[in-house]
């Protein structure tokens, strides 16, 4: 499936609204400014996934999209292992970064991810009037590519290409660098495109 420039712009705007909501909640939780990149919507051939998502140890908090479309795709909050430790240290009032993850860290990451992703999906639902609900969070601390690959393998539709809505969220004060990635199933993507087209039609 290829997207026109107008469709890409519309989807990027959708990603922008979602990510802005997520950035606000992250900023509130860290009590520190969070910068947000311009959201990108990219089509990635699955054979080339490793050019976008590497094998570095990372924390991935993943959510399945539910709601009107039962298996709508996934949203993933993706951060380097070091950023993940720094975020939980900031929240739990610790300073040691050279330590293994414990249950408190894992639970904090799931919770922060849950709040951010819920805000992201609130933002997109407000704009589209199309509700995508997040499943409970699932956390993996491992190679990022392996986690993404596992999600792609279990997508409902057989695909050779995935669309990634990706926005970088960074907090300079705490040296936290993270990405929020929406990976819709084609069924959700079509629905989003239809709704966006409706919105862009001039009033009759």
């Amino acid at each position: 499936m290829s997207l026109s420039d107008i469709q890409k712009d519309a989807l990027q705007e959708l990603g922008n609204i979602g990510a802005a909501h997520a950035a606000t909640t992250l900023s509130q939780m860290l009590n520190s400014p969070v910068e947000m990149s311009v959201p990108k919507v990219i089509a990635v051939d699955i054979a080339k996934l490793s050019e976008y998502i590497g094998e570095d140890p990372s924390a991935m908090v993943a959510f399945e999209l539910q709601g009107e479309i039962p298996h709508g795709g996934y949203v993933i909050w993706y951060l380097s292992r070091d950023s993940a430790i720094r975020i939980t240290n900031t929240m739990l009032g610790m300073t040691d970064t050279d330590r293994p993850f414990n249950e408190m860290d894992e639970s904090a990451l799931r919770e922060v991810g849950n709040i951010m992703v819920s805000a992201y999906l609130d933002g997109t639902a407000e704009l589209l009037g199309f509700v995508m609900l997040p499943s409970p969070p699932s956390l993996v601390i491992d190679m990022a590519h392996a986690a993404m690959q596992s999600l792609i393998a279990q997508m409902a539709e057989e695909i050779n290409e995935v669309f990634l809505f990706r926005t970088d969220l960074t907090c300079l004060e705490h040296k936290i660098d993270s990405d929020i990635i929406l990976m819709p199933e084609n069924s959700s993507l079509h629905k989003m495109l239809n709704l966006l087209e409706e919105m862009m039609k001039p009033p009759v």
Binding site: I46, A47, S50, I141, Q149, S150
Partner: protein, 168 residues
């Protein structure tokens, strides 16, 4: 005097062919697939000819799809055998190794245990083809990167996210 040098397997002098999801390569050069989750990295190697093949399988069944044969267990294995036989490799000489098939997200309703199904399907097809599976590192919850060096007697190295690695 015999001088032996310690070589770090991750410092490379030869280029390595990166094999992405659903891709495969055949030859005597170094090959690698990074970040296997539920996917399977399968290597076939002929010690007689020092030539091998590697594929990055994502799903057990092609269900009639033919566009990317390397993506599915049922189409990938016959494909590699065919490629090796055109290079004159004797089927009886081939040894196989597999890595991957992890279950990283147990919680999701859609997960359907793809990792496990991949492992079972690959093993079944290897057995049907009378191919020898000599070594494996499969299952569990961990992601793996796999490095295959036909020139070093078909050595297969599996690396985990924590940096530890082992030969299989």
């Amino acid at each position: 005097m015999i001088v032996t040098t310690m070589t770090d397997p991750f410092v490379q002098t030869d280029p390595t062919a990166m094999i992405g999801i659903g891709e495969y390569r055949v030859g005597s050069f170094r090959m690698a697939s990074i970040g296997l989750g539920s996917c399977i990295g399968l290597t076939l190697f002929s010690p007689e000819q020092k030539v091998g093949a590697m594929v990055h399988i994502m799903l057990p069944e092609s269900s009639g799809r033919t566009d990317r044969p390397g993506k599915y267990a049922d189409t990938a294995i016959p494909l590699l055998l065919n490629e090796l036989s055109t290079l004159g490799v004797r089927k009886g000489s081939i040894i196989c190794k597999i890595a991957g098939g992890a279950t990283m997200f147990e919680a999701f309703s859609a997960s359907m245990n793809i990792g496990q199904r991949n492992i079972e399907r690959v093993k079944k097809i290897l057995a049907e083809q009378n191919l020898r599976l000599v070594s494996e590192d499969v299952g569990g919850k961990m992601g793996r990167s796999v490095y295959f060096t036909p020139q070093e007697n078909g050595k297969v190295l599996v690396r985990l996210a924590n940096g530890s690695s082992r030969e299989i």
